[in-house]
């Protein structure tokens, strides 16, 4: 072997190191030339057998080969590492669409009912329930609305063959609860009600109400106003105002209707509230002593308030729904818009 051979070896080693594109290839080059059984240690081993005149140059060249190749491998290794990191970075595309499962959505009517339950939970109300197929007694007679009472006209009823009926209101739950326990009573009763209304933008043959009833010693109209106002603010927003107008219901006396200030215009008047600044919600009042007498409560010992509210109405106001039929149309896009 001559010095020139070492020079040639060096060239090919450096050449291979330059072209090696991966960390593995660089390692192969290192092992080929500098490894324990590599070409360079071979040369070094054979040095003692070489021509004496060639020996110094060979030693120097071999050393150079070792140094330069090691240095080049080092540089190349760094370069290759950077390049592969860059490639991975390039391949990583954070702008691809995220992967997620559908969120699901509560129906707006359930949502309103559940919100109401939560609000009244805080005031110590429990939730009562009653059948949709009711007796005439619970739906009318016990609520001081005997046959022939004009109030029956305003609630055109689905009568069934059996003489039972589809409840026109959730108020019969008041009777069922009071029949089953002594006072005090503090309940709300959400549920489905039915009236013979032809379906249109504001009417539906079935709809939902939430009934409220509080009976105890010394319940007053001031309590009714306070609790309904509290509900209004929690349901519709802190600056909602509530107003009460005298009205008539057979099972409450005095009776009121109550309105919420219009959430759209804040009470200034707009199309939604027909320029009045108010939106009619529902009726309420102090339980008529005749109703207490029917369920065996002593009207001298207790007083109470009762209220009802139309769930569809609240949903329509809260979500700006203009047609009640949308609530029963169940278009997925509509329901997902209102998912909360």
């Amino acid at each position: 072997m001559k010095a020139a051979d070492i020079l040639a070896l060096k060239e090919s080693a450096l050449g291979e190191a330059r072209t090696a594109g991966t960390a593995e290839a660089l390692e192969q080059v290192r092992i080929k030339y500098l490894g324990r059984k590599g070409l360079l240690p071979e040369i070094m081993k054979g040095l003692k057998d070489a021509d004496v005149s060639e020996r110094p140059a060979m030693g120097r060249y071999a050393n150079e080969l070792k140094q330069e190749l090691a240095a080049l491998l080092e540089t190349r290794r760094a370069a290759v590492a950077t390049a592969s990191a860059d490639a991975a970075t390039e391949a990583f595309d954070p702008t691809l669409p995220g992967r997620w499962r559908a969120l699901g959505a509560r129906h707006p009517i359930s949502r309103i009912i559940e919100d109401a339950i939560r609000i009244f939970d805080n005031l110590g109300f429990t939730v009562a329930d009653g059948p949709d197929i009711e007796t005439e007694y619970h739906n009318f007679d016990a609520l001081n609305t005997p046959a022939g009472h004009p109030s029956r006209d305003t609630q055109d009823t689905f009568w069934l063959e059996s003489g039972q009926l589809l409840r026109t209101q959730t108020s019969p739950v008041q009777i069922r609860v009071m029949e089953s326990r002594p006072p005090p009573v503090r309940i709300i009763a959400p549920g489905r009600c039915y009236r013979r209304d032809t379906t249109d933008a504001t009417h539906s043959a079935n709809f939902h109400q939430i009934e409220g009833l509080y009976v105890d010693k010394c319940v007053s109209m001031a309590d009714l106003k306070g609790d309904i106002t509290c509900f209004a603010r929690r349901m519709m927003g802190a600056d909602v105002k509530v107003r009460f107008r005298p009205h008539f219901f057979p099972f409450t006396e005095p009776s009121v209707e109550y309105d919420f200030s219009c959430h759209v215009c804040g009470g200034k008047g707009c199309r939604v509230c027909k320029q009045s600044g108010w939106i009619e919600i529902s009726g309420a009042g102090m339980v008529n002593p005749k109703v207490f007498a029917k369920v065996g409560y002593d009207p001298e010992a207790v007083t109470g308030y009762a209220f009802g509210m139309g769930v569809e109405r609240i949903a329509m106001i809260r979500y700006g729904i203009h047609d009640i039929r949308l609530l029963y149309d169940n278009d997925k896009r509509f329901l997902e818009q209102l998912a909360q």
Partner: protein, 822 residues
């Protein structure tokens, strides 16, 4: 109830603007639904006399009229069809401004000059009528200011009168409220008329049903001239929604609007034998009412009859046969009081509601009956030239007593939650024309007049205080928490948990009507018609049956969404279903239904792959399993231990074991559904919708649905889970791949494994399933991963291998499976 403000002012001198009066009434319980302004002061509008009418040379529909205006004669181009020489019509002079803002100028119309305008009622803001010119009485001199003829500006308040206040179905009743609210005096018209012989006794009145008719009065008026009633009266009637007919009929209506007492006028000569009998209708009697309908009468209806036959349905409508004609000379004027329930029933039965029946149903003032009769008589004397026979026939056997009601002042304050002085309370009563007697420091006694049938008890008086004092003066008490012994609402709260879980699983809640069409139900399942509850006389065929299952509407809803380009949906509904139980009694219970359409459940690119039957089914099954886990129902392929509930399981639907009657099995593909059991009790069905049904809504891809009873699903929701010790020693996994016949199901394999499992076997998990040429036709490869763990030591590899091999051996020997090695 429509109230003309000008008419109201005859009774009470209220100065407030219509709008502020409306607000005040609304907050006193008489909700004013609308205020319509009418007319104006009609400056520069006078009565014009049409002297001549000539055709317009250039227009067929226009005429050239010469009109005398009192000061001059002017030429007006007129477009009305009803203009004739001699007419007296409203004439708006140049410079006049009509109530709608239109200003009258001189103009050339189709080449002819016009100096003013002849007006129709709508142009004057008097009504909606635009049929032609407003015709004024011909005896009014030309040039009379129109305001002197039709009155000044007016407003009509439309008031919603609640059923407890029949007294407010009258101008007088509203006037009483206004007087009380504004502290004004009520002015009643003075009524005077001369009476002449012979007396009214010539007419015979017999009340056979005194309970149905507690008071009946009749007066006889002779020599009337039937003619239009005075313009002012006609205008007031029109404003209040009643069409003028003739002076006699108009006066009865006018007085009804004024005081709330319906009246009826008969032609005396048409009453057989001058006889009036108030009785029940006889079986099979019929009568033609004024609206020219032949009515079948029944014995529960009260009629007014002559000696032969009914002449009016009491309190509802008169008959054609005895009605007022243009030739009528002698009139019997009826003013009576009928039992409200009776009139209501009659009106309902006949489907005939009139202004009269509406008032009788709610109750008229029995003491006001004769006042109304006298008022109408005086008006008939004035406007129909009547002479009045002496006296009145008044059948009024039992004079009602005024009710005395005790009102305790403290009770008022307690119930309303306000601080109000005793004297304030009594003065509110007095303002309402209630007489206060026996007043002391604690209470007072109030006499309720007969026109206030709603005042029965103390609480009714408290209501009067509330509305007259003002609800706005009742403070809103600070809400306070008060926990009383509650009702058991566990089921409702569990339902909320269930809904939460389903929403959490990515499902969208829907709500369908409880009333459905028979067609839909039969389409889905024709076999169950017997137990369904039909609505008698349904509003429409779409809402004729109470639903006995949620699935039909679930599938319909999916179809409706699909038709709107929505390819994927995962819906659930929680709702009540209704059916007849085995004893035929109406029953209702809560169900839950779930429906999946398209690649629901998958994310991202997975959605691109078409939905295979099995996929849809398994996604739905997975949702059910997750839901059950959430509700603490055991979901485990491992057989339950001795004291353990079996939890969720599926049971094949077989002919031998008839399916539970509660579910719409007809919705399913027979071989693609299975019964859901919870703790061994079947409570629902899950499967794929049959293709023939899907086709109804063009649902091309598989649709998986389930319906089940809600109650069993919620039974364990309140479970409090117990913390168990976590395993201390590591587990070891071993796989096995089986080549099995397609007939063998995963469930068979898993239960076989568990049946022979050593106690160290912890889990069995299917991780791959495939078919290939190598596996062979009719076979599949199923790969399971089994984990082993011991509770008291670390298992060695040898031990695990031994356990695993023994399971393989037994599988091989007990089932026709082949264990694939390597």
């Amino acid at each position: 109830m429509k109230v003309s403000l000008n008419w109201l002012k005859d009774f009470v001198a209220v100065e407030a603007s219509p709008e502020s009066l409306a607000e005040r009434l609304t907050f006193a319980g008489l909700e004013v639904e609308g205020v319509t302004r009418i007319g104006s002061d009609f400056k520069d509008i006078v009565v014009g006399e049409v002297l001549s009418v000539n055709p317009h040379p250039n227009a067929d529909r226009l005429t050239l009229c010469d009109v005398a205006t009192g000061r001059e004669t002017v030429r007006v181009v007129c477009g009305a069809p009803n203009v004739h020489a001699g007419d007296k019509v409203p004439f708006a002079a140049i410079g006049a401004v009509l109530p709608n803002g239109m200003k009258i100028k001189s103009a050339k119309i189709r080449g002819e000059a016009s100096f003013g305008m002849l007006c129709a009622e709508d142009e004057l803001g008097l009504s909606e009528d635009h049929a032609g010119l407003m015709q004024l009485p011909r005896d009014i001199p030309a040039g009379t200011p129109l305001v002197d003829v039709v009155g000044g500006p007016d407003a009509v308040l439309t008031i919603e009168v609640t059923p407890n206040r029949p007294d407010c179905l009258s101008i007088l009743g509203i006037a009483r409220e206004v007087a009380a609210l504004y502290g004004l005096r009520l002015n009643l018209p003075s009524i005077q008329f001369p009476e002449t012989d012979p007396s009214a006794e010539g007419l015979k009145v017999a009340v056979e049903d005194a309970e149905g008719c507690p008071r009946y009065t009749a007066r006889i008026l002779k020599g009337v001239t039937i003619a239009p009633s005075p313009l002012a009266m006609r205008l007031r009637l029109t404003r209040c929604g009643i069409r003028p007919i003739n002076n006699i009929v108009d006066i009865t209506n006018y007085v009804m609007l004024e005081c709330g007492q319906p009246l009826h006028a008969f032609d005396l000569t048409l009453l057989k034998e001058s006889h009036i009998v108030v009785r029940r209708a006889r079986p099979n009697e019929t009568m033609a009412t004024l609206d020219a309908v032949e009515r079948k009468l029944t014995p529960d209806m009260l009629v007014i009859a002559d000696a032969q036959s009914p002449v009016a349905i009491a309190g509802v409508m008169g008959g054609v046969q005895s009605g007022i004609l243009d030739t009528t000379r002698d009139v019997v004027l009826e003013s009576a009081c009928f039992k409200p329930a009776l009139i209501r029933k009659t009106s309902k039965t006949l489907g005939l509601s009139t202004e009269s029946s509406y008032r009788f149903e709610r109750g008229v003032d029995i003491r006001g009956v004769d006042w109304a009769s006298r008022r109408a008589t005086a008006l008939m004397v004035a406007h129909a030239g009547a002479t009045v026979a002496k006296g009145v026939l008044d059948c009024f056997p039992v004079e009602p007593e005024e009710r005395s009601i005790v009102c305790r002042f403290d009770r008022v304050r307690d119930l309303l939650g306000i601080d109000i002085k005793n004297a304030e309370i009594t003065s509110l009563f007095e303002a309402l024309a209630l007489t206060v007697v026996d007043c002391d420091k604690k209470s007072c006694t109030v006499k309720a007049p007969t026109f206030r049938p709603d005042l029965e008890a103390e609480v009714d008086l408290i209501e009067e205080v509330a509305r007259m004092h003002g609800l706005d003066k009742i403070p809103a008490a600070a809400p306070h928490s008060r926990f009383v012994q509650g009702v058991n609402d566990a089921f409702i709260r569990a339902t909320i948990t269930c809904r939460d879980a389903l929403v959490g699983l990515g499902l969208t809640e829907i709500m369908n009507y409880s009333l459905v069409s028979e067609k839909l139900l039969v389409l889905c399942d024709a076999a169950r018609t017997g137990q369904r509850i039909a609505i008698p006389r349904p509003i429409s065929a779409d809402q004729a049956i109470l639903r006995d299952a949620l699935l039909p509407q679930m599938i319909e809803t999916l179809g409706r969404n699909r038709s709107r380009q929505i390819a994927e949906a995962a819906f659930f509904e929680i709702g009540r279903v209704f059916f007849r139980n085995d004893q035929k009694a109406y029953t209702e219970e809560e169900h839950v239904a779930i429906g999946l359409m398209g690649p629901a459940g998958r994310t991202g690119f997975e959605k691109r792959s078409a939905t295979a039957e099995a996929d849809s089914f398994l996604w739905l099954k997975g949702i059910l399993e997750a839901l059950c886990r959430k509700l603490f129902i055991r979901v485990d392929e491992r057989p339950a231990g001795r004291d353990q509930p079996s939890g969720l399981a599926f049971q094949e639907l077989t002919e031998a074991d008839p399916p539970p009657a509660l579910y719409d099995l007809g919705c399913f593909e027979k071989s693609r559904c299975t019964v859901i059991t919870l703790d061994g009790i079947s409570c629902g069905v899950v499967g794929l919708v049959r293709e023939t049904l899907r086709r109804e809504w063009r649902l091309a891809e598989p649709v998986a649905v389930l319906e089940m009873r809600l109650a069993p699903l919620l039974e364990r929701v309140t479970t409090v889970p117990a913390a168990e010790r976590l395993p201390v020693y590591p587990s070891v996994a071993r796989d096995m791949a089986l080549r099995v016949n397609n007939r063998i199901r995963h469930g068979d394999i898993v239960s076989a494994i568990w049946k022979i499992a050593p106690k160290e076997l912890t889990t069995v998990e299917l991780f791959d399933i495939f078919t290939s040429n190598e596996i062979g036709i009719g076979f599949k490869s199923m790969a399971y991963s089994l984990t082993y763990r011991s509770g008291d030591r670390t298992l060695t590899d040898d031990e695990v291998n031994r356990l695993h091999e023994s399971i393989k051996d037994r599988l091989r020997s007990e089932m026709s499976v082949e264990i694939r090695e390597g």
